[in-house]
Amino acid sequence: MKTLFSPKTWLPAAGIIGLVLIWQATAWFVSDPLFLPSPLATTRAAWQLLAEGYWRDLLATSARALSAWILALALGVPVGLLLGLWSDLYDSCRAVLAFLRSLPSYLLITVFVVMGHSGEIARVGTVMLASAWIIADECAESLCTLPPSRIDVLRAFRASSWFILTRALVFEALGRTIIPAARTTIGICFVVSTVVEALAVPTYGVGARLLNLFAVANMAPVFGFLLLTGLMGVLLNAIVHRSARLLIFWS
């Protein structure tokens, strides 16, 4: 049982504490503080960044990633359902999906820019396409490998295909796709958001701030920037995963 004093409670923190200790020791004994700032110096630099308004960039990137992810679900799940229901269609689209999944999606920003959208539509659209195909593919695959028992119950009742789709298959697909896909695709959305922001620079965004960091003379602000961005990514991941677990409670 997990209690306040049991090792299980403290084990997740052990890795972080270990890393910080190694980092601190390396910063003290081995490295030049200019190139490897101590954890304390990094925390100070991170605090300074927040005070200078970096929190706005973090929030803007997170909002961009989250809205793109929700749009990716809205596109990916219906497409995945369609492909999963008609296995011939899915088989004929597998190569296309493999291509789309493998394409570095931030390159698609060029398509949006040429089409005349260089603003938020281009950024969110590009990030959405980074994960929509993954969600569609996972959703289709989950339907193809679905254990037929619940469907069989309805088929024995002589339910129509529409009834089976709307009362069972949609829920099955959501349950089997969203939770596993949430962890990977929200991370992808966050990463691609920062890349896209560096290419099509918005007023606020982690990627937009990245360019400023090339001009700094020491590593403390860079480490502070990395620390805050990483923590935001972890927080976003946790929020999405928890929310998905609450919404898709039957998974």
Binding site: P147, R150, D152, V153, L154, A156, F157, F249, W250
Partner: protein
Amino acid sequence: MSLIRVNHLAKAFKGSDGQVNQVLQSVSFEVKGPTVIGLLGPNGVGKSVTMRLLAALDTPDSGSIEIDGEPPINCRVGYVPPTNPVFGWRRTKDDIGIGMEMVGIPRRERHTHVAALLRRFSIDLPLDQRTHALSSGQRQMVNLARALAGHVPPPLVILDEPWAALSSAVQEEFIRHLESIRNTMDTVIFLSSHQIDSAILACDWILPLRERPVCITQDDLIPVNLPRPRPTNVQQTVEFLELLKHIESVFHGSAPLTV
């Protein structure tokens, strides 16, 4: 009175190596409701294949099935697969009532009917709870109730390995519910098992599936001539033990069953 007629049913499957695996050679029998028939046999002999054919979830290679003179595809069948599935996103009352929802019965009426059905058979379930949170015993009760729910009871209910995942106490409770259903509803209930004693307790007839390919005629049906309702000490009676011995002898030489 429900009448199930099975004539020379045959089914084979092609393996990945291209070899034809004949599961059912010729299965013929006729049963009238209300009754409980137990398909008894070792794992992989063809119990589930027979069950799925009866539910018209698969089509036979040859032969026919009639439910009250109709092909099974025209009849609503209560089917409970061996995996004990629930529609976990639904509340218990909506999960049980899904078959009624299918035919357009309004929500309030469905809930009233489900509550009445559970009261009738003394099945205690949390009606407002989502079914994904239920125990395996409660899930199996949901499955049983769902198979039966409807203004007209289904002529055929199929329970594939209904107590495979149940503890012995829940299994006993399940068999008691089956008995009261059998006594009050005009339904033919088929169940599959590899537990001889439980099958004797629950069933009126035992259909022994010894080995592949399965050949069954009306004469192979073994009647369970034990009083209904089953007395609490029925398992200690001479009749029960003799029947147990007889069924064991039928399976002598085939894969082992559990008692």
